[in-house]
């Protein structure tokens, strides 16, 4: 989401943005996977019959992603983009933290669902499929053979 006023301060804004996008790809991918994993943990806490032992894996992925996100080179022009990713990360971390505390009532559960939904919404807004930042990997989807 380059914004022109900020880009003026960088003599080579294009390079910096390209570097940012390249480094962001894996982080964005991890965030989309976290959405799935956190959603599944929510499902699990709601439906005891589901078998899933991914809580620890999700927490590890969350920590790694948080670290990687903080380490990204962020030129001013893409500050807003990076902020959206950080906000999504923050929401997912909140959900993971709350899930660790155990059982909750329906209202608390609904709040967590809303947090994941808004994280997903932020990722949707931050998607740049041409740069490889896309919610779903559709490169091998049933339509991707059309060139």
């Amino acid at each position: 989401m380059p914004d022109a006023s900020a880009a003026r301060h960088d003599p080579h804004p294009g390079d910096a943005i390209a570097r940012y996008l390249a480094a962001t790809g894996p982080v964005y991918g991890a965030l989309t996977r976290l959405v799935s994993q956190v959603s599944l943990l929510l499902l699990l806490s709601d439906d005891r019959r589901l078998s899933y032992t991914g809580a620890a894996a999700a927490r590890t992925l969350a920590q790694e992603t948080e670290t990687a996100l903080a380490a990204l080179p962020v030129p001013a022009a893409v500050g807003r983009h990076h902020w959206m990713l950080s906000q999504a990360m923050d929401r997912l971390s909140q959900v993971l933290k709350r899930l660790r505390r155990g059982r909750m009532d329906a209202a608390a559960f609904a709040r967590l669902i809303r947090l994941v939904r808004s994280a997903h919404e932020l990722l949707r807004l931050a998607a740049l499929p041409e740069a490889g930042l896309s919610l779903a990997d559709l490169r091998r989807a049933c339509c991707s053979c059309v060139r």
Binding site: L50, P129, D137, L138
Partner: protein, 296 residues
């Protein structure tokens, strides 16, 4: 007698699609038109859908620009051709969690969704694997699992464990494990309501994407037709062929009773019309007393 009307409703399409992706081994063959559709099932007091299509909001622009998918229309527009609103739909069967089948969940506020438990569990397992194994997550939208969590929170998600008979009267759900996806489901409609039915329709999800998957020319090996699965699978071709054999047994080996949703030639086999939005509506069968949605 027939309990249900069944209509295949196209909601988008792409032209120039390589046949080899739809029929494994058809490398020399022409490109074809690939429709995206869901299936409307009405009868016995129910309005049901098999799959809900993808959401333009999430992927539409990218798909349109990158892959030439045209003419996407929302469920409200597509269903209106049959006099139905999304709010009328009470039941949704999700054949599998690919983005083009399990996307438009929010559009159906009054529906209970049925999906195989293994489909969601195994996708989630795949998502926890290292990046170098990510091939297995193709076509999966992370929002699918979020959709499932949202539906579960409001009591509108029903897990299916393998087979489920009479999920609504005369409608059975079947699992094809490790096939097109990890927990692909197909739907059988016993349209005379009989336990051993003489009037079965199979709604095959992506286990059968085109007629050729079950009616491939078999002259090479001296049979009339043979099974030939599509090329896209994370499971096994063997499991797809076994599912096809089970479907064919159920329909008394009458291949036309197996309905593929990515088949552009449904109009050659069933009464159909093109809507104002240039999308095909195919009438697979009509319930007793129902009015045709394709003939005026």
């Amino acid at each position: 007698m027939a309990d249900y009307s069944i209509h295949v409703l196209e909601y988008a399409r792409t032209r120039n699609y390589p046949k080899a992706a739809l029929v494994y081994g058809a490398f020399e063959e022409v490109r074809v038109t690939l429709p995206y559709s869901y299936i409307l099932l009405r009868g016995r007091g129910h309005v049901a859908l098999v799959d809900v299509g993808y959401s333009h909001k999430d992927h539409g622009k990218y798909l349109a620009e990158k892959y030439g998918i045209e003419n996407w229309r929302p469920p409200r527009t597509v269903l209106s051709e049959c006099g139905i609103a999304p709010e009328d739909v009470d039941t949704v069967f999700i054949t599998h969690a690919h983005f083009d089948h399990f996307g438009n969940v929010e559009d159906f506020p009054n529906a209970t969704f049925y999906i195989q438990r293994e489909e969601i569990e195994r996708w989630s397992w795949v998502l926890s694997l290292p990046d170098r194994m990510r091939w297995m997550t193709a076509s999966l939208d992370p929002a699918s699992i979020l959709h499932a969590a949202e539906l579960s929170a409001v009591g509108r998600l029903k897990w299916v464990d393998g087979c489920w008979e009479d999920v609504i009267p005369g409608v059975d759900l079947h699992l094809a494990r490790d096939s097109h996806t990890y927990g692909s489901m197909w739907v059988a409609v016993r349209n005379d309501g009989a336990k051993v039915s003489q009037d079965v329709w199979v709604l095959a999800g992506d286990l059968v994407v085109q007629f050729d998957n079950i009616e491939r020319d078999g002259s090479l090996i001296d049979v009339e037709t043979m099974y030939n699965p599509g090329a896209q699978t994370v499971g096994s071709y063997t499991n797809i062929i076994i599912a096809m054999a089970a479907m064919m047994k159920l329909v008394g080996h009458e291949a036309r009773r197996i309905i593929p949703v990515h088949e552009a030639r449904l109009g050659e086999r069933f009464p159909s019309r093109i809507s104002r939005e240039d999308l095909r509506i195919s009438e697979i069968c009509l319930a007793d007393g129902a009015v045709s949605a394709v003939k005026s």
